[in-house]
Symmetry: C2
Subunit: 649 residues, 2 copies
C-alpha cells in the first residue's frame, strides 16, 4: 500500500506543468469566479443539443445569496449548480498551497462566509432544495445530487484547510455530514439509499484520511454498501413523491445508468454514466484500501479491466455515447459520436491513482498519465477561458452542424456550460498535480511522473527531480538525506531507459529501483520515439487505422495544418522518422510532429462513387501533428487522431 | 419526354423478378392483410428506440370498422395508419394485373367496401380524425397526414381501376379530392397550406394522368406552390389550435424538416425528412413535366444533384440520421448510424424515374437500378414476412444493443412496425416493377432494365426481352412489327457491351440505338465483372475503404460467412478475380462472391492499444460476399459493405 504525500511537501518547478498551474491561478480561477458570479458576459452553452437545458448564465453564487436570504429571487441552473462553487473553492485551495495570494484568499473567505450563511440551522445545505423545494430534500436522490454537492463541499473544505489552516469551510462540511448522518443509515426510519450521482463516498473517505475520524469511513462504506441493495429504491422514491403529491415528475429510472442495479461489490462491468461509474469506483477503491475489503477490491479490478481493456479511447477518454453520458458495450468506441467527457477522464485519473496506491503496477500510472496529458488537458483552451465537455477524436465541422447525432460535439471550446462540471474539475486537478508525482510506502519513495519538482518527506528525505521533460529526455535526480529505495517508473512509451548512478540499481519490468543514500545522484535517460499505435482488432471502428504518440502525448492532425485532413494516409515506417518542430501558432515549445505521408488526390469528377481498377492516386505530403490536447485552439476545423495506414510500396 | 407504358402492356417472365412478384402475391400480400386485420400474432416493433411510439398491433382495418360505425372502440396506431391499408390495396391492384386471383380480388373488394362505409357524407375520410378528433380535421396539417393518406388512397384507386376496371375505390378517392377542393385553394377563406408530409401532390398528378382531368393537376400545382410560401403556416396552426382550445400540443415546428422553409421551386438542397423530400421532388418533377415548368424542373435537378452527388449511400440508401429520419450535410454518410429508410430508397426510384422521363440520361436509370436492387430489396426478407425500416451498411450487433445512438438500427428484420410505411411500400413497388422496364417517346422505345419480359405497345410493336440476367450476361431481343428505334441502356456496371444484330446500330455514351423493323433480332452481350468502388475523397467516413459491386448488386460481408468480419482487408487487384459461387443457405442462384483477402490475426494480448513497429500480422483469407439486399436473412450477425483496402505487396 502506498501513501500520498501532502500537497505542500512537493514543490513543482516544471516548465510544462508550472505553466498550466499558473494559467489556472492567473486566468482560470479568476475567470471562473467572474462566471460563477455572473459578473462577465459569456456564452454559456448547453452541453448537448437540448433546448430544455439551462444556458445563458451560471447564477451559482447568486443561488447561495438567495438561499442565505441576502437576495430575493429564484434558483437558476442545474440542481447541482452549488458544486461549481465548491470545485472552484477546491481549486483555489490547491492553488493557494502552490502560489499563495492574499487577495484570492480573501475572496475565497468571502465565498465561504456566504456558504456558511446559506447553511440551514440543522446543517442542511443545498441551495436548489432550500430555495425551490424544501419538502423534497433527501427525497429524490435519483436526481437530487444533494450528497454529490456535499461531497464536493467536503473536498473543497479539505483543500482549503490544507492550504490555509482555516477550518470554517471544514466546519460547514462537517455539519452537513452530521445532517446526513441524521437522515441516512441502516437504522430503522433512516433512508436506506445513496445519492444517484456518486461523489460523497470518495469525499467521505478523504475526510476520514484528513481527520482520521473513522465515522466518515463508516458512512462512506454505508453509501457504498446500500447502493443497489434494493434496485427499486429510486423508482420507489418517484412513486412515493407522486403518491404524496410532492412532485409530478415521472422519470424512468434505469438502475444501470446510476450503477444501482446491484451493489458495487457485485458490479461486473463498467456501465452507465461514466463519471458516476468512475467516481463510485474511486470511492470503492479507497474504502477497499482502508478497510482491506478484498471483495470490493476485486470489483474495482473488474471495472478497471473492463474500462481499460474494452472501453477506453487512446486519449483515455471514456464514455462512448451522449445518451446518458455513458459507457456502451465492449469495443464500442466510435471516434466521432463518442462523449469522452473531460470529467470522466479526470475521474479515471482518480480511479487509477487509488488502484496504484493499493498495488503500484505500471499499468495504473500509464493510464493515469495518458488521461492527464490527453483527455484531461484537452478540456481547456490554452487561454484558460474556454472548455470542452466532450472530447472527440474525429471532427468534420459540417457534420457536427448538420448531423443531430453529433449535436453534443462542439467544434471549438465554448466559454462555459450550463452544466459546468468540467471547467472547475479541470482547475482542481491541475492545481493539485503534485499529488500524483510521488508516493511512498513505509520505506520507499515512488517517482511516478516526470515532473520537475522537489519532494521533502516527513522523514526528511529530499528528492529533487530536475528535468525539462517532455521537451527533453532526461531526469537529474538529486537525493539528499536519503534512505530506502527510490522506485523510478518506466513509462510504457519510453525506450532505452537507463540509470546513470553510483547507487545500486535493480531493474524490474515496471521500475528502476535505486538505493537512496545520504547523497545519491541519478541521471536517468530515455528516448521518446514517435510511436505508432494500433488498436486491438476487436475494436472494429479503428480497423486499419494508426494513431501516433510521442512521450505521453497522443497526437492529432487538424485541418488548419493539413487541408483535406481526411485524405491523408500514413506509412508505418515513416512514423518513427517524424520530425519534431515548433508551431508558434499553438505550441509554446517544440512539440509539433511532421510525418511523411501520402495524400489522396481530389477527384476530377464530382461523382460520389466510382468503379476503380487502379490504385488510389496519392501524392507525397507532410502530415503535421500536434499533441491532441491542443486541438481546437485555432478556430473550427477538421480533427483526426486515427489515420488510415498506407502500406503500398 | 418519355411516356410510361401501361402496366398490362408489359408481361414479366423474369426469373429474378417473377420470384419476387410471386413472393409478394403469395406471401407478402396475404401476410400483410393478416397483420392489418390483427388476425395473426406478430411482434410489432417501434421503428426506433422510443417508448412513446405505437407498437404491439396494427389495428389499421379495425380503425376503418370503427369509423364506419360497424364496431365500437378507439383509434389505435399512428395518425397515418390508414395509409397502410391503401398501400396494401395498391399492391393488390398491381398484383392482380400480373397474377389475377379471384379470391384476392374479392377480399380487396370487401376492404374497399369498408373504406366506402367509413367515408363521411361530405367525402372526408381519415379514420384518426373521424374517430378521435373531428374538430381538428384539416387543422393540424403539420402532422395530420390527412392529405398524405388521401394521396395513397388515390394511388391505390388508380391501381385497382387499372387491374379490375372497378371504379368504386376511384369514386371514393375522387370524393375525397372534392372534399379537399372545398377546403383548400388560393381563394379567400380556404386553407393556404399543404400537408406536412408530401404525397398528395404526386398522387394528384397520377390521377390527372389516369383521368386526363386537369383539375387534379391544378390542385397538385396548388399544393406545390403554396408550400413554404408562408414559412409560419404550420406554427400558426399550432398557435391557433392552442388559442381556440382545440389542442394542447406544442410541437416545435422546423420548417426545413418538412421542406416548408421556402417554396419547392426555390429549394436549393435535399434537406429534412428524406421520404417527404423525395415524394415532394417526385411530385415537382411530374408537375414540371406536364406543365413545362422549367423553374420547378431546375429545382428538381438541384435536389437530384445534391442527393446523388453528396448525400446518397452506395446502396442508394438516403437519410443519414434517425433524428427526423432526415438528410444531414454534404458527404455526411456514416455507415453505422445512418437511417436509409426503405421508403426513402423507394422514393428515390420514383424521383429518378420522373427525371428520366423528362430527360432520359443514363444517370437517372443507373440510380433507379441501384436503389431497386439494393436499398429497396433489402427492405424485405427472403421469406416475405420480415421487413427493414432502417438499412444499415455496417452492423456490429453488440454495438446496436448497447449504444443508444444505434437504437434505430435493427440487426434482423422485425415482423412488422408500429409505423408500417415500409412493408406495403415495398409490396407496391415490386408488384409494379414492369412500369420501369420500358418507356417510350413518340417514335421510339427505351429498354431501361434487363428484365425478361414482353412489351406490346399501343401501336402493336412487340418486343420480347429474353434473358437470365442477372445470372447470365446476355439479352435476346426479338422485335416484331417494329418501327422507330429501340434505345438499349448501357448500365454503368456493364463492360464490353456489344450488339449482335443485322439491324442498324448507333452507339452513344448512354445507349445502343437499334433501328426496329418488321422483324428485328438483337443479341446483346455484356460482362458483369466484379467491380471495386471507391468513394469520393470528400466522403471522409469511407476513407481508404472499398466496396464491391457486380452487375446491379452491391455486395456485403456477413459475420456468418466470415468470422471477425471487421478483421478482413481486401486487395484491389483481387476483386476482379472474385469467384462466383452458390450459397444454398440464402441464395437461390449463383450470386455469392468469394474474394481472396487478408485477415488480421487476433492479438495474443487483450490490450486495447499497442505500440507497433511491424506491419499488421495478416493471413490469407477468403472473404465471402453476398448481395447486400440479402443480408440479415440468417440471424443476427456482423455486416460490412465497405472494407479496408490492403495494399501491401
Amino acid at each position: 500500500m502506498l501513501q500520498e504525500f501532502s500537497l505542500n511537501s512537493v514543490k513543482l518547478s516544471d516548465t510544462f506543468w508550472k505553466n498550466y498551474q499558473a494559467l489556472v491561478k492567473e486566468t482560470v480561477i479568476p475567470y471562473q469566479y467572474e462566471v460563477l458570479n455572473d459578473a462577465i458576459t459569456v456564452d454559456v452553452q448547453a452541453e448537448r443539443a437540448d433546448d430544455t437545458l439551462p444556458t445563458g448564465k451560471s447564477h451559482a453564487l447568486e443561488n447561495f445569496r438567495i438561499a442565505a436570504g441576502l437576495k430575493s429571487g429564484e434558483h437558476f441552473g442545474w440542481i447541482f449548480q452549488d458544486s461549481d462553487v465548491y470545485k472552484w473553492l477546491e481549486a483555489v485551495g490547491y492553488s493557494l498551497i502552490n502560489q499563495p495570494d492574499n487577495e484570492l484568499e480573501t475572496l475565497a473567505d468571502e465565498v465561504i462566509e456566504l456558504i456558511g450563511k446559506a447553511q440551514a440551522e440543522d446543517g442542511y445545505l443545498d441551495t436548489y432544495f432550500q430555495i425551490k423545494n424544501p419538502k423534497l430534500a433527501y427525497r429524490m436522490l435519483y436526481f437530487s445530487h444533494e450528497l454529490y454537492c456535499a461531497g464536493h463541499l467536503i473536498e473543497a473544505a479539505i483543500a482549503y484547510d490544507q492550504a490555509t489552516g482555516k477550518q470554517s469551510l471544514l466546519e460547514i462540511a462537517k455539519r452537513v455530514v452530521e445532517n446526513i448522518q441524521v437522515h441516512f443509515g441502516y437504522e430503522e426510519g433512516k433512508i436506506h439509499g445513496a445519492d444517484g450521482h456518486q461523489e460523497i463516498e470518495l469525499a467521505l473517505v478523504r475526510l476520514y484520511e484528513h481527520t482520521q475520524d473513522k465515522q466518515y469511513l463508516t458512512l462512506a462504506a454505508f453509501f457504498t454498501d446500500i447502493r443497489g441493495s434494493n434496485p427499486h429504491f429510486y423508482a420507489n422514491e418517484v412513486k412515493r413523491n407522486l403518491d404524496e403529491g410532492l412532485s409530478d415528475e415521472k422519470p424512468v429510472i434505469d438502475p444501470a445508468y446510476l450503477q444501482a442495479n446491484e451493489q458495487p461489490k457485485n458490479q461486473q462491468i463498467a456501465q452507465g454514466h461514466a463519471v458516476r461509474m468512475l467516481y463510485m469506483a474511486t470511492g470503492m477503491a479507497k474504502i477497499a484500501n482502508h478497510a482491506n475489503d478484498n471483495e470490493l477490491l476485486a470489483a474495482c479490478e473488474r471495472i478497471w479491466e473492463d474500462v481499460t481493456k474494452r472501453k477506453m479511447y487512446v486519449t483515455a477518454g471514456v464514455g462512448s455515447t451522449v445518451h446518458g453520458e455513458a459507457f456502451t458495450g465492449a469495443y464500442d468506441l466510435p471516434n466521432d459520436t463518442m462523449y469522452c467527457e473531460t470529467c470522466a477522464s479526470i475521474a479515471l485519473v482518480y480511479f487509477a491513482y487509488e488502484l496504484f496506491k493499493i498495488n503500484p503496477k505500471k499499468e495504473y500510472m500509464d493510464v493515469l498519465e495518458r488521461a492527464l496529458y490527453n483527455g484531461v488537458l484537452s478540456g481547456a483552451s490554452v487561454d484558460g477561458k474556454h472548455f470542452f465537455y466532450v472530447n472527440p477524436l474525429e471532427i468534420h465541422p459540417d457534420s457536427c452542424r448538420h448531423n443531430p447525432g453529433k449535436g453534443h460535439v462542439k467544434t471549438t471550446r465554448p466559454d462555459w456550460f450550463g452544466c459546468a462540471c468540467c471547467p472547475p474539475n479541470f482547475a482542481r486537478l491541475i492545481s493539485s498535480l503534485q499529488k500524483y508525482v510521488y508516493t511512498q510506502d513505509e520505506e520507499n519513495v515512488y517517482l511516478n511522473l516526470f515532473v520537475a519538482s522537489q519532494l521533502t518527506t516527513e522523514q526528511g528525505v529530499r528528492i529533487k527531480q530536475k528535468t525539462a521533460f517532455p521537451y527533453e529526455n532526461q531526469l537529474c535526480i538529486e537525493v539528499d538525506n536519503g534512505a530506502g529505495k527510490l522506485f523510478i517508473r518506466k513509462p510504457s512509451w519510453a525506450k532505452n531507459m537507463q540509470m546513470h548512478t553510483e547507487a545500486t540499481v535493480e531493474e524490474t519490468a515496471d521500475y528502476f529501483i535505486v538505493q537512496m543514500d545520504e547523497k545519491t545522484r541519478i541521471q536517468a535517460s530515455f528516448e521518446q520515439p514517435t510511436l505508432a499505435i494500433r488498436s486491438n482488432p476487436k475494436l472494429w471502428t479503428n480497423s486499419q487505422l494508426l494513431a501516433i504518440q510521442r512521450g505521453p502525448f497522443v497526437y492529432c492532425g487538424e485541418g488548419r495544418d493539413n487541408s483535406m485532413l481526411f485524405s491523408y494516409r500514413v506509412r508505418l515506417a515513416s512514423i518513427s522518422k517524424a520530425k519534431l518542430t515548433k508551431n508558434a501558432s499553438v505550441l509554446p515549445e517544440t512539440l509539433q510532429l511532421v510525418v511523411s505521408a501520402e495524400k489522396v488526390k481530389n477527384w476530377e469528377t464530382d461523382a460520389l462513387y466510382n468503379f476503380v481498377s487502379d490504385k488510389e492516386e496519392t501524392s507525397p505530403a507532410q502530415l503535421t501533428l500536434i499533441p491532441y490536447h491542443l486541438w481546437g485552439n485555432r478556430g473550427e476545423n477538421e480533427l483526426r487522431v486515427w489515420f488510415p495506414e498506407y502500406t503500398e510500396n
